[in-house]
Amino acid sequence: MTTVIGKKEIPVIIVALLSLLMIVPFFINAPALNSMSTEVQRMLVPIAGFALILGGLNVTLRNITKISKRSKDWQFSIVLLATFVFFLVVSLIPSPFFENLYTMAYVTVLGKVNEAVMALIAVFMATMAYRGFKIKNFETLLFTLSCLVVMIANAPIGEAVWAGAPGARNWIMDYPNMAGMRALNIGIALGIMAYGVRTMMGHERIALGDIEIKVKKE
């Protein structure tokens, strides 16, 4: 007996059926389908919860391997695991003491350090502006001028020096910028829809992990 539905087809069928279950009740009045669609949406929330747990588990396993193999900088993996366990435990134990402890540890310490990591980007953006904003042609001139005008208008000191700056910024933002960004948004939306239809029809299988990337050996 030949198998009509193989391993490759099952994920595609699931994608197609669930996509249609989400789309159809939006356009036609079918209370039964609508409630089924809502129920499936709700059932996806615990699956997303499992994904979060899997993320934590992956981090743990990777670092345990790093420690056991004594890889480069393995000592930092101990720090990472200790912090991981600390936050996992104090976040889960339902007692006022632990709740206070995790709020304090998160809000007072971890959150600030996390923000400092992101704040580093600002400083590197300054060096990027210094090294990358070289006006060499008309495109870079437009890029730099639009950036300079918006920056001047965004800073209160810029407004104080050049009263027309906010007006110039608003014009840039509301017309040329808006036109460019709108076209990008429309393009992205159409691209996502095309990708969705291709996935539903089984033409786009990368997302479902069905394509192995083969590297040709020279």
Binding site: L88, A116, A119, L142, W171, P176, A179, R182, L184
Partner: protein, 224 residues
Amino acid sequence: MTSYDVALSLLASGLVLMILSFLYRESGWFSFAEHIVVGGLSGYGAAIGIKNVYYQGLTPLAQGQFWYILAIIAGLLLFAGLFKTLAWWVRVPTAIMIGTGIGLNMRAAVETQVTAQLIDTVRSINTASLTTNINNLIIVIGVCCVIMFFFFSTESKGALKPVGIVGRYFLMISLGSSFAYAVMGRTSLMIARFQDLLSYPNYYTIFLAVALVLYDILKQRKTS
């Protein structure tokens, strides 16, 4: 401020300065603080995941909504990827998430991101105000040219070439203004950190950090 608060505050600012030390040079201090951030965020994320499974999956199941067992099984299948022989089964929950996501995204995307946007693009260029006419024309030309710039189905030559070039000009203006706002955003993060670092008792850690940097500079000069 209790001594407990002071200690926590000093610990936080110490770790923040370890992160900022990357601006001077990469060192073990930076890696130490970086690993604390990754460990802490993963731990907290995993805990939230467990709570989510408990409240949104196990609780309805315990209340008699037996079909939630399917969600639990699908969620557990995510872990199949950890075992080579079972790895294929990960595709089932992945397909469930992708299928639902695609459907939800597609059903309203046309109206939200395409139709409403196109309606606002088609504006009159025959109003009483010349400025409005010019501005409306800029929008129409800009949107069309940028879309044509990303139209890869035919080669950009002949009449299409200048259209693509004008599209590129519009994109440059958009990206320039976008960069300016990104500067303001990222700077806000540094300002927030400095507002904290320059308050009591955190500023003591700054003196210590500056002293350490000066010591390192002197040490490097001596060795070179």
